[in-house]
């Protein structure tokens, strides 16, 4: 038999899988503590249903009915569908959390994975700035609980740049906006200049593209009214973030323009040193759910788990140790006594494997040998099961 996998897919071996499970427990625990409940949509969606991802970035296939399906390209589409179908008339805010693989088509030879885990939350039905502050604070808290300490949080507002673009003649708006989202700031400025935007405005826009600071005072000169409103929003958000306990890590970044076009308000990303991609990103997307038939405000974020894992490992992180695994050497009999002793130990909360294990996945192990149905040899001494349980339980707690 020849093995092998399609490019961009890989096996996650036990050591890494244990680490990812530890991250998942920590994140979902943090999300739950803020009232976010888990959502698990199917792995497959109708391909035409997705609006947040370019169709060329989806892994698509035909089923036997001739429908074009796609492996889940992101969670936002699924959340939007669930909200429109099941919670259309809910008045209270809906708080949803997930930790799940997503699938993206990637050109070959880019070194990119086509399947990776993403974790995140969506807060639906709350248009207040308090909601924006809540999700940013939750993101910072969840990452800190995972052990990520050196992270910076950049907070921007898409309304700042949009305010300038709205002043352009209609036919130039699309080109300038698309260039800004694609990161081509040269062409965005060029399109604005060609469309006749005044020199003052151009200078203010260029200053905005480069603006990153703890306050926004120097960003106001020359900006149009709509852009000033975006700055006012960020000015109001600042103290809310302070109150939520994340003031210190925040930088206002007007050059933060997400590649995805559907954001409508406050946006943010989390970065760490020496990693070329953001660990997490998110923001407000108030218009998106309306396209699915449920016009509700929404904000949320996604954490790229491979990047988070990479940053944690680079910082010397190790998965929190489980209690040690006891490798129980059988007695010479037919196995009945060994099975009985193992069952008694497990009933007391000890992890027991009979014989040996080929893959420990970085777990601590202890060894013991079955002597009779109430005794094992542990650490060179024959002891009663109760005594061994007491020793191992104490070690497990450390």
């Amino acid at each position: 038999m020849t093995g092998g996998l399609p490019r961009g897919f890989r096996d996650i071996l036990p050591t890494e899988a244990r680490e990812l499970h530890a991250i998942e427990r920590t994140l979902m625990g943090a999300f739950a503590q803020y009232g976010y409940v888990p959502l698990e949509p199917p792995a497959v969606e109708l391909a035409e249903g997705a609006v947040t991802v370019d169709e060329r970035r989806m892994l698509r296939f035909l089923d036997r009915d001739g429908r074009l399906l796609a492996l889940r390209p992101d969670m936002t589409t699924a959340v939007a569908r669930v909200v429109a179908q099941r919670y259309r008339d809910a008045n209270a805010a809906l708080r949803l959390a997930y930790f799940t693989p997503i699938f993206r088509e990637e050109a070959s030879m880019r070194g990119s994975e086509r399947e990776y885990d993403q974790a995140g939350v969506e807060l639906i039905g709350d248009a207040t700035l308090r909601a924006d502050a809540e999700v940013i604070a939750l993101l910072a808290d969840a990452l800190a609980r995972c052990g990520l300490l050196a992270a910076d949080i950049d907070v921007g507002h898409v309304g700042f740049v949009d305010g300038f673009i709205a002043e352009l003649p209609a036919e130039a708006r699309q080109a300038a906006g698309a260039a800004a989202h694609a990161g081509d700031l040269v062409s965005a400025i060029g399109a604005a200049r060609a469309a006749g935007l005044s020199a003052d405005r151009i200078a203010a826009l260029e200053r905005g593209f480069r603006y990153r600071s703890t306050d926004l005072a120097d960003a106001r000169a020359g900006a149009p009214a709509a852009s000033l409103r975006a700055l006012d929003t960020l000015d109001t958000l600042g103290p809310l973030l302070e109150a939520a306990g994340v003031g210190g890590a925040i930088r206002f970044d007007l050059g933060l323009i997400p590649a995805l076009p559907y954001y409508t308000g406050v946006v943010f990303q989390v970065t760490v040193p020496d990693l070329g991609s953001a660990i997490a990103a998110g923001g407000r997307y108030d218009g998106l759910l309306a396209r699915f038939g449920a016009d509700r405000p929404a904000t949320g974020f996604g954490i790229a788990i491979p990047h988070l894992h990479q940053a944690l490992v680079a910082a010397g992180w190790q998965a929190p140790a489980d209690s040690p695994l006891l490798l129980l050497a059988p007695d010479g009999g037919d196995g009945a006594m060994t099975l009985q002793v193992a069952a008694a130990l497990r009933a007391a909360g000890i992890a027991v494997a009979i014989g040996d294990v080929a893959e420990r996945a970085g777990q601590d192990v202890r060894r013991a040998r079955v002597v009779d149905d109430a005794h094992v040899e542990y650490d060179g001494v024959v002891r009663a099961l109760e005594a061994v349980i007491a020793v191992l339980t104490r070690e497990g707690r450390r």
């Binding site: 480069r210 050059g255 970065t271 020496d274 070329g276």
Partner: protein, 214 residues
């Protein structure tokens, strides 16, 4: 944490890139000695010298914080990087060219056969251009000497990068239309642009002023 890294395209752009970086106050002496080393440490920065087409890849993956490379390379690469400053030098043009005097004939053929064959080293640029124009073409990817393709009957037209147009003329090719004018760009990794904003924004402003004054 590693030092600040600048990826530079070896070749035609390098001499003027050195002038630009020196004008921005960066140490560029180390870039002078024949360019055998590919990672060149200098005061405060580290240069990575690579083939032009690899510069966007270095920057997109964060192996370098910023880079200087031609817009022609960026158009063909599709890498996710920020383009911050038009540096103005290294000017060249993407053009569609056809054997002189045969444009009408090939358009006749297009109407007849419904498709043109276009040879190029830049398949993405060519494909995007003809898709935008609504002209159906078959792209033939070559690695060099594209201007020979019409002569030997490999293709009707070519898409190529020209600076003076002399090579086209020598091969009896005429420009059908211009696709884009390309100059050198300062590019940045998205995360570096956030984390090293002060430094990169200052570099961008200085280089912009330098380019405008030339």
């Amino acid at each position: 944490m590693r030092g600040f890294r600048i990826a530079l395209a070896q070749g035609m752009l390098l001499p003027e890139t050195r002038v630009a970086l020196a004008a921005a106050g960066l140490a560029t002496d180390a870039l002078a000695d024949g360019g055998r080393r590919l990672v060149v440490p200098a005061t405060d920065v580290e240069y990575i010298l690579g083939r032009p087409a690899d510069v966007p890849t270095h920057v997109a993956h964060g192996a370098a914080d910023v880079g200087i490379v031609g817009k022609d390379v960026l158009l063909e690469s599709d890498a996710d990087v920020l383009e911050l400053v038009d540096l103005g030098y290294g000017r060249c043009r993407f053009v569609v060219a056809a054997p002189a005097g045969s444009v009408d004939r090939s358009l006749d053929e297009y109407r007849h056969l419904g498709s043109l064959e276009v040879a190029t080293k830049y398949p993405r640029v060519a494909e995007r251009h003809f898709a935008r124009r609504g002209i159906q073409v078959e792209i033939i990817k070559l690695s060099g000497s594209v201007e020979l393709a019409p002569q030997v009957g490999l293709a009707d037209w070519i898409v190529d990068l020209v600076s003076t147009g002399r090579t086209l003329a020598e091969n009896h090719l005429a420009i059908v239309e211009e696709i884009a004018v390309c100059t050198a760009r300062l590019i940045a990794n998205r995360v570096s642009y956030a984390r090293e904003r002060e430094r990169i924004a200052a570099l961008a402003s200085t280089l912009e002023a330098w380019a405008a004054a030339r």
